[in-house]
């Protein structure tokens, strides 16, 4: 205890030293701080053990027979219905496509309006807070709300992805706008161009590569999200997957999962090529 106290004093006096303080003196308080942080982490994990039911982790071993059976079901994927799986997968991609497209279109004005170098604070602060709201609520929550509002089916999924993705893309778009070189925009201003023209000719060309990159990435992750949205009734492959897991049709579930994984991989490859094409 006394040791920490003296170290604290030494640390407080450090700025008065002429050059860099001796390395041992500087390292000692840092070691104590690290130990304290480690201790705190251990305490928090221990407190969370019970509520998270981590005690059940032993079942992974004691009931390993169940696990093996479960796994063996998945080891023999059943592709007999592959046509309908692929159809549903395409629906899922179409949900993601529309959700992302609408989000990109709306993120352009919202992104520009929430950039601090494009609009005064009394415009970009309210717009940013609205985008925070869109982003803060998970797409699954939006999907549940829209299932109630517009009924079960893919459109609820499109709306959920649209709103959540707008919140994300508008923020990313505005950060790109804030990082532009202002000088070309100034040059365009001196020709007598309007505000909109300054944005079209001076800002958009500078941010377009980043915007496209962000949009393609969101499309990819929205294909994954759209799968999850199917589980809560927003159509697509997710709905089929959830139904077959609930009915203990493990071979079918396994086939569906393989199709999802392949699709996500293919989307990743395609978007990589698209990105190369436009940048």
């Amino acid at each position: 205890m006394t040791k920490t106290a003296t170290n604290g004093v030494a640390n407080g006096m450090a700025p008065q030293r002429p050059v860099a303080p001796a390395p041992e003196a500087a390292r000692a308080p840092r070691n104590w701080r690290n130990l304290t942080l480690l201790g705190a982490l251990i305490v928090i994990l221990a407190v969370s053990w019970g509520p998270a039911e981590m005690g059940q982790s032993t079942y992974l071993f004691t009931d390993s027979g169940n696990m093996a059976e479960y796994a063996s079901g998945f080891m023999q994927p059943d592709f007999t219905d592959w046509r309908s799986y692929v159809e549903e997968m395409i629906v899922t991609i179409q949900i993601a496509l529309w959700g992302t497209f609408l989000a990109v279109i709306l993120s352009i004005p919202f992104g520009i309006l929430s950039a601090s170098n494009m609009a005064p604070w009394w415009i970009n602060q309210p717009v940013r807070r609205l985008m925070d709201l869109f982003r803060a609520i998970h797409e699954v929550v939006f999907a549940v709300l829209f299932v109630v509002a517009v009924g079960l089916g893919p459109f609820a999924g499109v709306m959920a992805l649209f709103i959540h993705t707008t919140g994300i893309l508008a923020k990313l778009f505005s950060e790109a706008v804030e990082a532009i070189d202002p000088r070309p925009v100034e040059a365009i201003r001196t020709t007598g161009a309007s505000r909109t023209q300054q944005v079209i000719y001076g800002v958009i060309p500078q941010v377009l590569p980043l915007w496209i990159s962000y949009s393609l990435y969101r499309l990819e992750s929205n294909v994954r999200s759209a799968t999850v949205l199917g589980i809560i009734g927003a159509g697509g492959i997710g709905q089929v997957l959830f139904e077959s897991i609930r009915a203990f049709y493990y071979p079918e579930s396994s086939a569906i999962l393989i199709i999802v994984i392949l699709t996500v991989t293919v989307m990743d490859l395609i978007s990589q090529q698209l990105r190369k094409l436009v940048i």
Partner: protein, 279 residues
């Protein structure tokens, strides 16, 4: 006729007086150099005349061709475009083609909707191409402007101002980012625009040699004030030392002659030399 009239213009950035009660007049058809060490207020003055910034206080006023562009710290945005501007860092939009960058000069003149959607008439495209030919780079029209050398970028920027068809051209250190031969080319083009098209040119320069060679009249600034306004021939190295003290070293090339040379642009035709003698 008075091309540019600045009266009692002041501007402060924090504690620094960037412009201190500056007044000046440029007659139509003049080519005037604005010299001064770094931080003397040249760029600030040019940004004010360009309509990019507004001065402090009630006294300051700028008129261009008899129309007020700012007074009492309030900008008249409708008058932007009456003065075309060339910048030290060229300020082209890198990812757009050179031709598009030149066409941007039209934005203040064509109907707003046409400029906004990028619909330019054939004659406007031809004029932009002709402007590129005039500045000596017709072959680069379709290239991205980021692929050009510094000297070519500055000439493309000059082509943009030609398309703008303003009666006044101001240039903020247009050659300080260029190598000597590119710098001479750019100054030749500016001198040619001045004599051929009878466009008033105000050009800020870091080195006094170019002022002596290309401009009959020089305005010298120090600490935000005009300290000399008169014939460039009077600017001997000794006089500069008197005006600027030790800072005069940064204005004079080390190998420059101690006495000014007669006003005679490099590589100009005899017709231009005659013009200078007559004028």
């Amino acid at each position: 006729m008075t091309a540019i009239s600045v009266s009692n213009l002041s501007k402060r950035y924090g504690k620094i007086r960037a412009l201190d009660d500056v007044s000046l007049e440029l007659e139509h058809g003049e080519m005037v150099a604005l010299i001064g060490a770094s931080g003397s207020g040249k760029s600030t003055l040019i940004r004010h005349i360009a309509g990019l910034e507004a001065g402090d206080g009630q006294a300051g006023k700028i008129s261009v061709l008899g129309e007020v562009t700012q007074s009492g710290g309030r900008l008249n945005r409708n008058r932007r475009g009456a003065v075309s501007v060339i910048f030290q860092q060229f300020n082209l939009v890198d990812r757009l083609s050179v031709l598009t960058n030149v066409l941007i000069g039209n934005l203040g003149r064509v109907p707003r909707w046409r400029g906004t959607i990028g619909y330019f008439h054939r004659c406007e495209r031809n004029k932009a191409q002709a402007a590129l030919t005039r500045v000596g780079i017709p072959q680069v029209a379709a290239q991205r402007s980021s692929t050009l050398s510094g000297g070519q970028q500055q000439r493309a920027a000059i082509a943009r101002t030609l398309v703008q068809e303003a009666r006044i051209l101001i240039a903020d250190e247009p050659i300080s980012a260029l190598d000597p031969s590119s710098a001479r080319r750019v100054m030749d083009v500016l001198a040619d625009i001045n004599t051929q098209d009878n466009i008033t040119v105000l050009v800020s320069l870091h080195q006094v040699e170019y002022a002596r060679r290309y401009c009959k009249r020089t305005i010298a600034m120090r600490d935000g004030r005009i300290v000399y306004d008169g014939p460039s021939t009077a600017l001997s190295n000794a006089f500069l030392a008197e005006l600027y003290g030790d800072a005069s070293e940064e204005l004079v090339l080390p190998d420059a002659p101690a006495e000014p040379m007669p006003v005679m642009p490099f590589g100009q035709t005899s017709r231009m030399a005659v013009h200078h003698l007559n004028a």
